[in-house]
């Protein structure tokens, strides 16, 4: 193994052992020809020794005219690790579905060889291509070459973050709308909101083609767009029988696991009471050859999920039980705009949209964005009687009360 840094990297070397691909090997490979990576390796070894990180908060760095897309990073020991005194990240907006050609990947590699550390993440948590580590003076040249090659920066800060989606109709038979097209369309529609932070905090879109939710939209996106269908599950009875013959216990592992108990199997025919199916995908996952989502396909739109910061983690909650999603997606975009208007007007600094809904109440929020309340939005109706009625009746000539009690 290559020796790097002055005293070697005995701790990190331990992470080159074992069958899983080693990030240490990756850093070492770059360290052989890039001084930044050499310093990075040495600094990381030090973190392993001291059990503490050595990175400081980002300062404001970026490319001209953008308020995001670059994460400023500086180490706290710049004299000892001068080549990574600045070590900024560029977020590059990936193509929908993370599809590439070898040529496009090589182009990105070549640009990053000229202008940065040569290290990347494929991909970052939000989905961007992460170009990990460069100096302030290289940002603008790297950006210029990236845009020449047809790539642009992704989002950061209090802005729309790079939308992402599952593989969708490109490869999945269960996609209930075109996740790639919608993601690409939203990203292009909201370029200004993505590159110039003007919101109370971040706003993420994630698009999953069916309720399997392969991109974790319900947990990781302020707006979670999850494909679903309204009509009947398509059944190929011969394939159901074939699955049974191949050893699947249809009664125990499919019917009994259906959350609404809406399926029956008599050993010959599978019957589904589709009016009671909640489109959970279990039976379809279990028998991909025999079952498929129906033809009347669209999506459920849910709002508000986030990680713990600031007020606590949330899953997204139903906002629109079913919507058809076809270009140009006007209905969806109008809805997004109304949500943003209310959020920008009323959101506190660093308040995600889900936290705002929690603070003002879903009922008031719906009123403000002009969406009718529906029982589908709730797991159950309220079980506490402290209701804020906004008006009360007065008998004629009742002078006692003036304005309705404000709350």
């Amino acid at each position: 193994m290559a020796q790097s840094g002055n005293n070697g990297t005995p701790l990190l070397d331990e992470l080159e052992k074992g069958p899983w691909p080693s990030f240490v090997t990756q850093i070492k490979e770059q360290a052989a020809k890039n001084a930044m990576c050499k310093d990075l390796l040495a600094l990381l070894e030090r973190s392993y020794r001291e059990k503490v990180g050595h990175w400081k908060h980002g300062g404001i760095v970026g490319v001209l005219g953008y308020g995001g897309g670059v994460i400023g990073r500086y180490n706290d020991l710049p004299e000892e690790y001068p080549h990574i005194a600045h070590f900024h990240t560029m977020r590059v907006n990936m193509p929908s579905g993370w599809f590439y050609t070898s040529a496009s990947l090589r182009t990105i590699c070549d640009i990053w060889e000229r202008h940065g550390s040569g290290l990347t993440n494929m991909h970052g948590s939000t989905g961007d291509i992460i170009l990990l580590g460069t100096t302030t003076d290289q940002l603008e040249p790297a950006f210029r070459e990236l845009t020449e090659a047809g790539f642009d920066l992704g989002g950061s800060g209090s802005a729309v973050r790079t939308p992402s989606c599952c593989v969708g109709p490109a490869r999945c038979e269960w996609a209930c709308y075109d996740t790639l097209h919608l993601t690409n369309d939203l990203t292009h529609t909201f370029q200004d909101e993505l590159h110039r932070p003007a919101f109370p905090y971040k706003f993420k879109f994630k698009c999953s083609g069916c309720p399997n939710d392969c991109v974790a939209a319900i947990a990781r996106a302020d707006m979670s767009i999850i494909g679903t269908w309204r009509d009947d599950i398509k059944i190929d009875q011969a394939e159901v029988r074939a699955a049974a013959q191949a050893g699947l216990d249809i009664h125990r592992d499919v019917c009994a696991r259906c959350p609404t108990q809406c399926m029956e199997w008599d050993g010959n025919t599978l019957a589904i009471d589709d009016a009671n199916c909640v489109k959970c995908m279990h039976c379809i996952n279990a028998m991909p050859k025999a079952l498929a989502p129906g033809d009347d396909r669209g999506a459920t739109i849910l709002l508000g999920s986030k990680a713990p910061i600031v007020q606590g983690a949330q899953l997204s909650a139903v906002l629109v039980p079913f919507v058809k999603l076809e270009p140009p997606y006007r209905e969806l975009k109008d809805l997004v705009q109304r949500i943003w208007d209310f959020w920008c007007e009323n959101g506190k600094n660093r308040e995600r949209v889900g936290e705002l809904v929690q603070r003002v109440g879903l009922g008031n929020f719906l009123e403000a964005i002009g969406v009718e309340p529906l029982p589908e939005m709730l797991a159950y109706p309220r079980d506490n009687p402290y209701v804020f009625y906004e008006e009360y009746l007065e008998a004629e000539g009742d002078e006692g009360a003036a304005e309705p009690a404000a709350q």
Partner: protein, 358 residues
């Protein structure tokens, strides 16, 4: 045109369409079914009868350009130059010629990339930056993932689990990557309140700092005649919100930082509804380079589930069925005060029935 006019902005990402292999373009939205042929290899069959073979290989997420170029070479050699990545940092090669699968897998093995992570298996661990690049990290990310996946490798390259296993790691409560709905979540935690640095007022807005704290643990103060803040340590739950808005309030501390383990979350709607992961192990001290205590704890949790779960049962569904007390017992986890929620809505997690196993 002047040079300035040539500077492009707001062009957005390149269209995905130009990166789709012909077999996908021709069968876009017209796939009929898929089948896993062997670990890490699946075939999608289109209504036209066309077949698309996917070979899924693990990556280290943190990769140098040389390795990406090797992937590009393999894509040229085996699949007309087309490949993609998954949301869990795997790389997928998209082939139409079934006979090329084995040679591709052999080449990937030579490069050190195991093929697997499909079906009833563990997929790669979604993770964050850790000590490699994050200012807020309470642990490293890539190192822990490497150690855990070296140990669970067999569950990646084979399909011998009751259901899929989704593991995620975030190196602090910011949770870039929102790990909080995973079968197993590995979460870096701080346990020492922020230490107020001198000169705070020069770099931070004091009202902002005070407002950032969800438990109102930050108060204005004056030290040596200079306005600053003080921390009511009894009210601090180490969320680092204050540090996010003010660098002069660091929490990182070698003695007190470490890892917590959460279990039973999921995002898929299949069977049970999506749900958060719940606390299994409150704290394991950082023990680089290979975090052996974390590795063994996770293996034990995986094995308890693998042994006891019924077909299709995810970690959380399994635990719901057997009950949390038994899960703690079987996983050899000591139950502690920290397991009891004491933040907002904490009472929702109290057991309010007499339905208990004795």
């Amino acid at each position: 045109m002047t040079t300035a006019a040539q500077r492009k902005t707001d062009i957005g990402p390149p269209s995905y369409e130009q990166f789709l292999p012909p077999v996908i373009k021709q069968n876009y939205g017209r796939w009929k079914y898929h089948e896993i042929l062997r670990p890490g290899v699946m075939v999608h069959v289109a209504r036209s009868g066309d077949k698309l073979y996917t070979v899924r290989a693990a990556s280290s997420r943190l990769m140098g350009i040389e390795r990406i170029r090797r992937f590009a070479d393999l894509a040229d050699k085996y699949c007309g130059g087309y490949l993609r990545f998954t949301s869990r940092h795997n790389v997928e090669f998209l082939l139409t010629d079934q006979s090329k699968i084995e040679p591709l897998i052999a080449d990937l093995a030579r490069l050190g990339h195991p093929v697997g992570g499909m079906g009833n298996a563990i997929s790669a661990i979604v993770h964050t930056q850790g000590w490699v690049h994050c200012h807020s990290a309470a642990t490293d990310a890539s190192g822990v993932v490497k150690a855990v996946m070296d140990d669970l490798h067999e569950y990646f390259v084979e399909r011998k689990l009751p259901a899929k296993l989704r593991v995620a790691l975030a190196c602090c409560l910011n949770m870039c990557g929102a790990v909080h709905c995973s079968d197993i979540a590995i979460l870096g935690v701080h346990r020492r309140p922020p230490r107020v640095q001198g000169g705070l007022k020069r770099i931070c807005e004091i009202p902002n700092v005070i407002a950032s704290c969800p438990t109102a643990a930050i108060r204005p103060a004056t030290v040596n005649g200079e306005p600053t803040v003080e921390i009511d340590e009894a009210n601090c739950m180490f969320c680092a919100n204050c540090f996010s808005v003010c660098p002069a309030l660091p929490l990182a501390d070698p003695l007190n930082d470490g890892i917590s383990i959460w279990v039973g979350g999921k995002v898929s709607n299949a069977r049970s509804e999506p749900t958060f992961s719940k606390l299994a192990i409150p704290f394991i001290p950082n023990n680089p380079p290979r975090w052996p205590e974390v590795v063994t704890s996770i293996r034990r949790i995986v094995e308890v589930w693998a042994k006891g779960a019924r077909p299709f049962e995810r970690m959380g569904e399994f635990i719901e069925r057997i009950g949390w007390p038994r899960f703690f017992q079987e996983a050899g986890i000591e139950f502690r005060k920290e397991h009891i929620d004491d933040y907002r809505y904490a009472g929702l997690s109290y057991k309010r029935s007499a339905q208990l196993r004795h």
